[in-house]
């Protein structure tokens, strides 16, 4: 199975190059910051860790598979002692006091963090333009957006600046930039990886997600990060997925796709044609393909944003500049809060906080927020029904190709609608992987809750099928 991690591991063991040289080479590439992917370089930390790996290799001590592998971290994860800005003005000088569980597990396995990566501020965006560090440029065409919100992470992987990166996916923020930059990006089942130390956007859909260049690497990183964590009560116990288990996909008998996604007027004609051609190739492998009924895109997007805005209004209420952050003092505490938040949050973040407080207000909560929750239940019920009919659901990742830098921020409503194909799976808390095949912006593979293994299995199958 393809795996950059396995390959580099072997090269380190064979002393083809030193870990220090490997890390330094990546740092040199990142230092140029050609695609605005870098918020902060972790050069001292990374080079110190690399020297330790080299010492072990020199002493002929065995090293673990991830030991010495350089990786990137979306700048919404706590890594003790490093700047953790969420690409925001409010936290531009904030240093994390502790380390996120998912990241700590990678550090314990010996992986080397080299960069905190640019993203939409607090995850609020689908283009990585809502950031104080400059719009992230697409890896394939730098005039286009890198996608978002984990744009910096996807571009770094695509450009080989990192071997893998850890993004965060709330409504598509790993899958969409992975699609825009032709790499793999996984949103695991909600709760499979602890959210502790991931800055909260919408807690009921926030997921830690790996981005890499192969299914094999996604598998390795997923296994290391997964597991129950007492610090995140929604996390659960899961078994490691073995490489062997995803090699044989004969148990996948049926695949479904949503008619409403493909019949939508909003879908680009080439993405539609390529998706349907992919369906034909799957059929040719004697897999039954079923058309499935699903909610209209505008219902999915509106339900997602209603709940995500309500949750982010609540989660971000702690950011008032009193204990940390870029405080602006005023005549009293309340005024200080208001000025600090008004001056330091971006327009998009403010729009979402205000929207969230609108729907949580008396008089609006019944007809919008509570109805949104009911719709979410209906969407989840629909998924449960679907997975009695099919093993896997495939979908395009986005209705359109990446927009030009500068266009998305002008029309926020259009940006929300561009998430039409990713948000439903977030609401259902389902494991979904973007693969860089099938359409210009990739293909999403989804399975039933807790069945991340099946997703990887089908991705491995499609690698040689389409």
């Amino acid at each position: 199975m393809d795996s950059q991690i396995h390959k580099i591991h072997q090269q380190l063991v064979n002393k083809e190059f030193s870990c220090t040289n490997l890390v330094q080479e990546k740092l040199n590439l990142l230092k140029q910051n050609t695609h605005n992917t870098v918020n902060n370089l972790l050069d001292n930390l990374a080079l110190n860790l690399a020297a330790k790996v080299d010492a072990k290799i020199a002493n002929n001590e065995p090293i673990g598979l991830l030991e010495g592998i350089p990786f990137g971290i979306k700048d919404v994860y706590m890594v003790q002692g490093t700047f953790t800005t969420a690409s925001s003005n409010l936290l531009k000088n904030y240093k994390a006091a502790y380390t996120a569980t998912a990241i700590q597990k990678l550090l314990d396995a010996g992986a080397i963090p080299i960069v905190k990566e640019n993203c939409d501020s607090f995850g609020h965006g689908s283009s990585s333009e809502n950031t104080i560090f400059g719009a992230v440029k697409n890896a394939i065409n730098p005039d286009l957006v890198g996608g978002g919100s984990s744009g910096g992470s996807a571009v770094n992987v695509a450009k080989d600046y990192t071997v893998f990166s850890i993004g965060g996916d709330t409504g598509g923020s790993v899958r969409q930039p992975a699609g825009y930059n032709h790499v793999y990006g996984l949103k695991p089942t909600y709760g499979r990886i602890s959210r502790y130390g991931l800055m909260a956007y919408a807690s009921s859909t926030d997921c830690v997600g790996p981005i890499a260049k192969s299914v094999g690497d996604i598998l390795i990183v997923l296994n290391v990060m997964s597991g129950k964590d007492a610090k995140d009560q929604t996390s659960y116990v899961s078994e490691a997925i073995s490489e062997e288990s995803i090699l044989n996909s004969t148990d996948i008998k049926s695949v479904g796709y949503f008619k409403s996604f493909i019949e939508s007027e909003a879908i680009d004609s080439k993405i539609k044609a390529d998706f349907l051609a992919t369906i034909e190739k799957i059929k040719a492998k004697n897999i039954e393909v079923k058309e499935l009924d699903f909610f209209k895109s505008n219902i999915l997007v509106s339900t997602y944003y209603t709940l995500a805005m309500a949750e982010t209004a609540s989660n971000l209420s702690r950011l008032d500049g009193s204990n940390y952050g870029n405080r602006i003092d005023n005549k009293n505490l309340k005024e200080s809060y208001a000025i600090t938040r008004s001056e330091n949050f971006s327009e998009e973040t403010k729009r979402r906080i205000v929207g969230g407080n609108q729907v949580l207000s008396q008089g609006f909560s019944d007809e919008i927020y509570l109805k949104g929750l009911a719709l979410r239940d209906a969407i989840s019920d629909n998924f449960e029904k679907d997975f009695k009919e099919v093993d896997i659901i495939v979908s395009p990742v986005t209705p359109n190709t990446p927009p030009k830098i500068g266009n998305s921020l002008k029309d926020p409503h259009a940006m929300y609608l561009s998430d039409a194909y990713t948000v439903g799976f977030s609401l259902g808390q389902l494991p979904t992987l973007t693969i860089p095949q099938g359409t210009e912006t990739g293909l999403q593979i989804t399975a039933a809750k807790n069945n991340d293994e099946l997703v990887l299995k089908f991705a491995n199958f499609l690698k040689d099928t389409i």
């Binding site: 003790q80 002692g81 904030y94 240093k95 006091a97 909600y190 709760g191 007492a230 610090k231 009560q233 929604t234 505008n298 219902i299 997007v301 509106s302 209603t306 805005m309 209004a313 209420s317 009193s322 204990n323 940390y324 952050g325 870029n326 405080r327 003092d329 005023n330 005549k331 009293n332 505490l333 309340k334 005024e335 208001a338 938040r341 008004s342 949050f345 403010k350 729009r351 979402r352 906080i353 205000v354 929207g355 407080n357 609108q358 729907v359 207000s361 609006f364 919008i368 509570l370 109805k371 929750l373 009911a374 719709l375 239940d377 209906a378 029309d411 926020p412 409503h413 929300y416 808390q429």
Partner: protein, 89 residues
């Protein structure tokens, strides 16, 4: 008589007003047919079993954690956090 809280007050954001882009999303929800309108009856909550709660114990932060927390204080005097004076009428 109930006191009306506007979104700028609720959000602690000066001059904040509902936006057209977001209201368009909410209109879709208002007009949608939700078959199950009772959100309390759903089966999709991420509830934690009472038997599975973590121990309710104080965990002492490490020295480095405490040091970074102090470093993050926006204003500090003799190791203490300085906050604005609260004046309530």
């Amino acid at each position: 008589m109930s006191k009306i809280m506007t979104v700028d007050i609720l959000s602690s954001i000066k001059g904040a007003e509902p936006s057209e882009a977001v209201n368009k999303l909410f209109d879709v929800i208002k007009n949608a047919n939700a078959t199950n309108n009772n959100s309390l009856n759903n089966n999709h909550n991420n509830c934690v079993s009472l038997d599975n709660l973590r121990d309710d114990v104080v965990i002492e932060s490490s020295a480095i954690e405490k040091q970074i927390i102090v470093e993050n204080f926006p204003k500090e005097k003799n190791g203490y956090l300085v906050v604005s004076k609260v004046i309530e009428a």
